[in-house]
């Protein structure tokens, strides 16, 4: 076998091996999207109930809660970035990081300090590579978020929000995550979590001209709001994590599908080249044989 042919054959082999891997990852992601989507749907009644309740209290009571009121001076803003733990998901993590950078830029131009909370190993890697500081980071389980993690994140940001500026408190909290729109589209989403703007977790938000009934609060509106708001924050963060997980699987499936397609193209091109090389080798051998036989015959 000629040297050229051997090179082509080995490249075909390697493309085939890669394709097997990407194909398997594509199938795994495809099956996990379903599950992730179901989890988003299953958590919807919870966030809906909480959103309704919070809206009702906020509408019908004049309670001033620290979590809802805008502060006079906004010095520090916290940005929570939701990326994935693993790569091979196309632009999933990088588009989120880019979005977060833009948001940070904007906040800085408004004269605010920006601190970061990171979710997912990719964000942590991005920050540590650039030797930049983050307040807190959570890694592991971004493809199957647990409510406990959401609670931890919520506790951490609400605690920071309640602290004074001098003690490292923050005045604003933003979430940056990928929203799952469809199998082929995941949109980076920036949401200001605190101070609260109450929005429904699901898109699109229908204009709510519904009148909330006059509730009776037990024990009283302030206590109810006190108890509800942290739960609301948790549910928003959990929702962001679930959306991000679904989006991650969809992005990975898309990336792996195009990788498999590329491998197919490579295999086809190299097979053609290999065939060419083999054919010209045979042609050369034949002409050598014929030439040799001619030479023997004329030597007699």
């Amino acid at each position: 076998m000629g040297a050229q042919l051997r090179v082509y054959r080995s490249r075909i082999k390697s493309a085939q091996t890669t394709k097997k891997i990407t194909r398997a990852m594509e199938l795994i992601s495809a099956s996990r999207i379903q599950k992730a989507q179901q989890r988003v749907a299953a958590s919807a009644p919870y966030s809906r109930a909480i959103t309704r309740a919070v809206s009702a209290v906020a509408t019908y009571s004049n309670v001033d809660h620290p979590l809802t009121s805008e502060r006079e001076k906004l010095d520090t803003a916290a940005v929570v970035i939701f990326t994935s733990d693993r790569g091979l998901a196309g632009a999933f993590s990088s588009s989120i990081l880019k979005e977060a950078e833009q948001l940070a830029e904007l906040l800085r131009s408004e004269g605010k300090n920006v601190v970061f909370y990171l979710v997912g190993r990719k964000a942590v890697g991005y920050f540590s590579f650039r030797k930049r500081a983050s307040v807190k980071a959570w890694t592991g389980g971004t493809d199957q978020p647990q409510f406990d993690t959401a609670k931890e994140i919520a506790d951490a940001v609400v605690e920071a929000y309640n602290l004074d500026d001098q003690e490292g408190g923050v005045d604003e909290i933003h979430l940056v995550y990928n929203r799952f729109v469809s199998m082929v589209s995941q949109v980076p989403e920036v949401v200001r979590l605190l101070p609260l703007e109450i929005v429904e977790g699901e898109a699109p938000v229908e204009p709510s001209n519904e009148v909330y009934p006059l509730y009776e609060f037990e024990p009283d509106a302030a206590t109810v709001l006190d108890a509800l708001l942290p739960i609301y924050v948790e549910s928003r963060i959990f929702n962001a994590m679930l959306q991000s997980a679904a989006a991650e699987h969809a992005a990975r499936q898309k990336a792996m599908k195009s990788a498999s397609d590329n491998a197919d193209n490579l295999i086809r091109d190299f097979t053609r080249l290999a065939n060419n090389a083999r054919q010209s080798e045979i042609t050369q051998q034949i002409s050598e044989i014929v030439g040799g036989a001619d030479a023997l015959a004329s030597a007699k």
Binding site: A49, R52, P213, E218, I231
Partner: protein, 88 residues
């Protein structure tokens, strides 16, 4: 019992139970409360304890709903808790 109550029990990651019931008994931070159809709209914080639902099918459900809340409006009762679960 003319009208039934629409009851749903919801936890963070799923809806645990939904259906019609004749009465819901819950323990709020102020004490036990029984809710029948036609109850005024209410939002209450639940205390540690059980929520009992008498379903119209004759079933009697008991759910654990710590750190949750209860909302009543228009004969719709929603019991929401982070880790609600049915005991039976």
């Amino acid at each position: 019992m003319a009208r039934p109550l629409n009851v749903s029990v919801v936890s963070a990651d799923q809806q645990i139970w939904a259906g019609e019931a004749s009465m819901v008994v819950a323990k709020t931070v102020e004490g036990e409360i029984g809710i029948l159809a036609g109850h005024e709209p209410m939002l209450a914080i639940l205390a540690a304890g059980e929520v009992r639902v008498n379903a119209t099918s004759g079933e009697r459900l008991v759910a654990r709903a710590d750190d949750g809340f209860l909302s009543v409006e228009n004969d719709t009762v929603t019991i929401v808790a982070r880790d609600a679960e049915l005991i039976k």
